[in-house]
């Protein structure tokens, strides 16, 4: 048998054996140790974890008779079992990956030996790692943190959508079970859920369109006004108007909430001073919606303004001069030169802002907290977006499985919009996003 085959087979049999066969003693021993530990875990520990993940616990907590006494005995905790099962599965997947690398390594070093060279020692191997597999070396740490701190929790949350983990079924008192697409069905068919769902989705979409449109158009108007050749102190205007962008929006939103206070807020105070009635800015379903849009304009216009000002300075002046010679008026110049140029360069921002507005948590949460409460809704108010409803469902109402369903809906919404807009923009921008 050829050396590479032998080495690879040995390594497949037990991690590290092939390396020992290739006379890479230290590396082989390290691999052997790691492989033995991993195999032990996979064979003896893993089955229990996977069983927990599949059954989500079988023994509920309850009173058990021990001799003459009745004692409270803690049962299985479904949620911990689920997380443990997931961690174990992720760990196993990583182990299998490393095992595959070990076989490949034994094979390539066997190949080296066949050509009459000596495989490198431990120092040489480490140096080779830095030289040839630099990318993997560098990506190892981010890979592990992202896997365990982002992907794993996300997978867990997605799985929750297929369980009945929602108040009143909460561990450790109750066992959670897999229920398939039950929650999705309830969301669409059960009256209490479906009417809220329909209402919140509609408002989320209206909000995203109006919020994006108003800030975009507003930003362009402000930028065009500042950019007029006869306007002086351009830099001053720009600097002042950028202030809302520079103040942390968490602070400005909390401030706005007080500004628009019905009774004591200065906005109504000034209106009353002018002899007008104050408006129910945050407490009336309609006006609350107007308020969040207005405040969002205050926050968002500066960003579009800076971006558009940047575009405007790149439009060559002779384009306008040529248009003037041809007898174009201000409106025509704007429509035929300025607008196409601005749209072309800012279309991606527009798309990003729309996707961002669907998930615009801060504006709604800090300003109105979704209120005023809608009595016909299930745990939601008139201004709640999908994303704030998700928050309320999970953190205030312990309706975890329904919150996960909403999360998946948001994902589908944003993903389908992104894919659609990506196709659209690719048509005139032949640039691969993942190049």
């Amino acid at each position: 048998m050829r050396k590479r085959t032998t080495a690879a087979l040995l390594s497949a049999l037990l991690m590290g054996l092939g390396q020992l066969y290739n006379r890479q003693t230290i590396k082989g021993l390290l691999f052997l140790l790691f492989g033995a530990a991993g195999l032990y875990g996979a064979a003896y520990k893993y089955p229990a974890f996977i069983k927990g993940l599949v059954t989500l616990g079988e023994r509920p907590s309850g009173m058990v008779k021990v001799g003459k006494l009745t004692k409270m005995v803690a049962g299985d905790h479904s949620i911990y079992m689920m997380i443990d099962g997931l961690i174990a599965t992720f760990g196993l997947a990583m182990f299998i990956g490393l095992y595959a690398i070990n076989i490949r390594d034994a094979y390539s070093n066997g190949l080296l030996r066949e050509s009459g060279q000596r495989p490198p020692g431990i120092a040489g191997s480490l140096a080779g790692l830095g030289r040839r597999h630099f990318a993997y070396l560098v990506l190892a740490v981010p890979f592990v943190t992202i896997t365990f701190l982002t992907i794993l929790p996300l997978v867990f949350s997605i799985l929750l959508a297929f369980t009945n983990y929602a108040d009143p079924i909460l561990p450790p008192a109750n066992l959670v079970d897999w229920v398939g697409f039950d929650n999705f069905r309830k969301m669409l068919e059960l009256k209490v859920w479906s009417s809220t769902f329909g209402g919140v989705v509609t408002w989320t979409l209206i909000w995203a369109v109006v919020a994006t449109f108003t800030t975009y158009v507003g930003g362009i108007v402000v930028a065009v006004v500042i950019h007029q050749p006869r306007i002086r102190f351009k830099k001053l205007w720009r600097t002042i108007l950028i202030v809302p962008f520079a103040i942390p929006n968490m602070i400005s939103l909390l401030v706005m909430r007080n500004l628009f206070n019905n009774q004591f807020g200065p906005v109504n105070g000034y209106l009353r001073a002018l002899g007008l009635d104050g408006l129910p800015w945050l407490t009336d379903p309609f006006w609350a919606k107007v308020t969040v849009i207005l405040v969002n304009m205050w926050l968002g216009i500066p960003i579009t303004m800076i971006l558009v000002l940047g575009v405007l300075t790149t439009i060559p002046g002779d384009l306008y001069e040529a248009a003037e010679v041809d007898g174009a008026g201000a409106l025509q110049k704007f429509r035929l030169i300025t607008m196409p140029m601005v749209l072309f360069s800012t279309a991606p921002v527009l798309i990003m802002q729309f996707a961002g507005n669907i998930n615009n948590f801060n504006v709604i949460f800090l300003l109105t907290n979704g209120d005023p409460v809608n009595p016909d809704y299930q745990y939601a108010g008139h201004t709640d977006l999908l994303v704030t409803w998700l928050y309320k469902l999970a953190l205030n109402q312990s309706q975890y499985s329904f919150a996960s369903v909403i999360g998946i809906v948001i994902f589908l919404l944003v993903a389908s919009f992104s894919i659609w807009s990506y196709r659209q923009t690719r048509a005139y921008r032949e640039e691969d996003m993942i190049a």
Binding site: I79, Y80, I83, D84, F134, V138, L139, P142, T145, I146, L149, T150, I151, P153, L154, F156, S157, V222, V225, R230, I231, W237, I240, L241, I242, V243, P244, A246, I247, P248, M250, I251, S252, L254, V255, M256, N258, L259, N261, Q263, F264, P266, G269, I303, I306, L307, G310, T346, P348, I351, M352, A355, F361, A394, L395, S404, G407, I410, R429, I434
Partner: protein, 279 residues
């Protein structure tokens, strides 16, 4: 004066009036909150914008009555650590993904793109349980870890896009001269990527400075809290009764961040434009 000139002057005047009105609107909330923090009494209501008498007592109360100083220390610690770790991880991963062609590269990029689309705190409950099992609840390090790993996902496309624009010939030349991967990275790539680095680290710093949702969930005791959480709770619990106290706290939180934004404005605008180009 003919008609056209009259029209021009009217238009110019209208433009100036428009801009002045906008400036008033832009500055009013900031002005109002600063004035509120300086006025006597503690109510939200005030009959004049400029208070009749000025006082600094609310700022003193902030430090005497609440744990403001402790929160500030916690916030700075968390924000600085997250910025350092997050920028470091972001730098490494975006550089590797931009420069090296390895198997699994396209898959990683697709996965990152998908991760960006999920609402960030959908996974919060799971992270909470996870940290609970690891005994990291109420720990600042847990927050630092979560913020830094989140930073990679949020900013990797901007950073990768930036590295894509640096010509490959620069590194090739250095490698011919015998420089190692590490040396190329530290001596050439890092100095060249200062604008992107500034943008990314500012965004990470800002993100961890103002986060009040995740931090609120993880930090269980008052001594561990951050400014954003403290401030948010202040406004939620004491609301209009101690409004001026909140006002002074808000001013103190907003000042450093706003100043930072103004100083680094140039990088921010570049970063925003670059971020948009990924589509």
């Amino acid at each position: 004066m003919n008609n056209r000139q009259v029209g021009g002057t009217a238009k110019l005047t209208a433009s100036y009036i428009f801009l002045i009105a906008l400036c008033v609107l832009s500055l009013f909330p900031a002005l109002w909150i600063v004035m509120s923090s300086l006025k006597t009494g503690n109510s939200l209501f005030s009959d004049t914008l400029i208070p009749r008498s000025f006082t600094l007592t609310h700022y003193e109360e902030l430090f005497a009555k609440t744990q403001y100083a402790v929160w500030a220390k916690n916030t700075i610690k968390i924000a600085v650590m997250s910025t350092l770790l997050g920028t470091f991880l972001l730098l490494l991963s975006s550089y590797a993904i931009s420069r090296y062609r390895f198997s699994g590269r396209k898959t990683s990029l697709t996965v990152l793109l998908v991760l960006q689309i999920f609402p960030g705190f959908m996974a919060m409950i799971a992270i909470y349980v996870l940290l609970n099992t690891m005994g990291l609840l109420n720990s600042h390090w847990a927050l630092v870890l979560v913020y830094s790993s989140g930073a990679i996902i949020t900013h990797i496309f901007v950073a990768k896009g930036f590295f894509d624009t640096i010509p490959k010939s620069l590194e090739d030349a250095a490698k011919i001269d015998g420089a190692s991967h590490m040396r190329v990275f530290f001596a050439i790539m890092i100095p060249l990527s200062t604008p992107m680095l500034t943008y990314a680290s500012l965004m990470i710093f800002y993100g961890s400075f103002v986060d009040f949702i995740f931090a609120d969930l993880i930090l269980r005791t008052e001594e561990q809290r951050t400014l954003a959480v403290g401030l948010y709770r202040m406004v939620n619990q004491r609301n209009s009764t101690e409004f001026t106290l909140f006002a002074s706290g808000a001013v103190l939180v907003a000042l450093p961040i706003t100043a930072l934004f103004f100083f680094l404005q140039r990088f921010l605008v570049d970063g925003l434009t670059a971020g948009a180009n990924k589509g």
